[in-house]
């Protein structure tokens, strides 16, 4: 198992694949599968790679993602630790998931059970990969999302998110007389401060990703715009948050929703969560249920089934940092948990 993990992990880490540029990594993934005799790999119309074994009606979908955030990092492996962009989020989980699924194949009656492993594109963006699966109307019995949770983490929920483009417009005029007009930048700042107050009263997090506005010389700014990242806790409706934002906007500001994802929370009673918990216990660890503050493809794929959970090796606090690293021991343990999860799901739930 270790050699397969090392081989696939290095192929993927060496193929930098920020969101929107996943083609070469998908090819590296499919080339690896073909090299070990898996020839039933499909690359769909948005660029996801999927392979399936078995033909039974009880069907488990394992969905990892192959894209990463921007920012290429040096790739290294010293026999113990892999370093490089995506080592944690989420090539490590995808590698463990893939090898774990191939290990489970040795023990399964494929006439009764079916397993699909998907390397999805675009998760760090607008999730075109997950949305393509939804459009296809797939109906798996259960889904496991591949995201770093530590080898013992059982992720049963994610917050939701709303990405807004906030636009404020001023009147113009000579900036030697700033009271003579409305400044788009000042309107933007005022709105931003109100949003920060709202974040406290609603218990949502609100961050700014981008801002642009004004002219360099002597003009009261006519335009200021920015991208605002709102994270919505479990149990809260996106529409309620947007209504509150509507109430605080001045007549000079408006927004459009660039993207939005509702929060998700599943019960620990669903069969795939039980299968994961048992797999973690059987590998000598104590399961640690968790809610994530970010979002993942779980927020979307829950529309296919609420028999869903997220799991994967790797320390999530390193995700998106310049210090992404994961050990071969973590990948190996993660692969064993995925293998046992699959076997538990088909034989004991």
């Amino acid at each position: 198992m270790r050699k397969l993990l090392e081989d696939l992990m290095l192929r993927l880490l060496k193929t930098y694949s920020p969101t929107g540029s996943e083609e070469l990594a998908i090819k590296a993934y499919t080339d690896f599968l073909k090299s070990i005799g898996v020839n039933t790999v499909e690359v769909d119309d948005v660029g996801n790679a999927l392979f399936t074994y078995g033909s039974g009606s009880k069907w488990l979908l394992l969905a990892g993602h192959i894209d990463t955030v921007e920012g290429e990092l040096p790739v290294s492996y010293d026999g113990k630790v892999f370093r490089g962009r995506g080592a944690v989020d989420a090539k490590g989980p995808l590698v463990s998931m893939t090898i774990g699924a191939l290990e489970a194949l040795k023990y399964l009656d494929t006439s009764r059970y079916r397993v699909t492993v998907a390397a999805l594109v675009g998760e760090e963006g607008r999730s075109p990969g997950a949305k393509a699966l939804i459009r296809r109307g797939l109906k798996p019995t259960a889904i496991v999302i591949g995201e770093p949770s530590g080898c013992d983490g059982v992720v049963i929920g994610y917050r939701g998110s709303i990405k807004l483009r906030l636009v404020c417009r001023g009147t113009g005029g000579h900036s030697s007389n700033p009271e003579g007009g409305i400044s788009a930048i000042e309107e933007f700042i005022n709105t931003w401060l109100k949003l920060k107050e709202l974040s406290k009263t609603l218990n949502v997090s609100i961050g700014m990703n981008y801002i642009s506005g004004g002219q360099l010389f002597s003009v009261i700014p006519k335009l200021c715009e920015g991208v605002i990242d709102v994270r919505v806790p479990i149990g809260m409706k996106l529409s309620d948050v947007k209504s509150k934002i509507d109430e605080l906007l001045s007549t000079y500001c408006s927004y459009e929703v660039i993207d939005e994802t509702p929060p998700v929370r599943v019960s620990v009673n669903v069969p795939v969560v039980r299968a994961l918990v048992r797999a973690i216990i059987k590998n000598g660890l104590k399961p640690s249920p968790a809610i994530k503050l970010g979002t993942s493809d779980m927020n979307l794929l829950v529309s296919l089934t609420d028999n869903i959970v997220s799991y994967g090796p790797g320390r999530s606090e390193l995700a998106h940092t310049d210090h992404e690293e994961v050990s071969i021991e973590e990948l190996e343990l993660g692969a064993k948990v995925y293998k046992d999860l699959i076997l538990e799901f088909f034989t004991n739930t």
Partner: protein, 55 residues
Amino acid sequence: MMLKCPICGGSVEVPDDALPGELVDHDCGVTLEVVNDGGTIKLRPLEGVREDWGE
């Protein structure tokens, strides 16, 4: 097997092959953990669902 919820006293159905460490959401709203108490399988409230950064 039927066990007793340590919070509300209600019945909780747990699979016969449940392992210590397994989790159960009960109707009363609490998440419970299966424990082996000197050879007896019982339930106790889960210490908490952690919040974690990450996507």
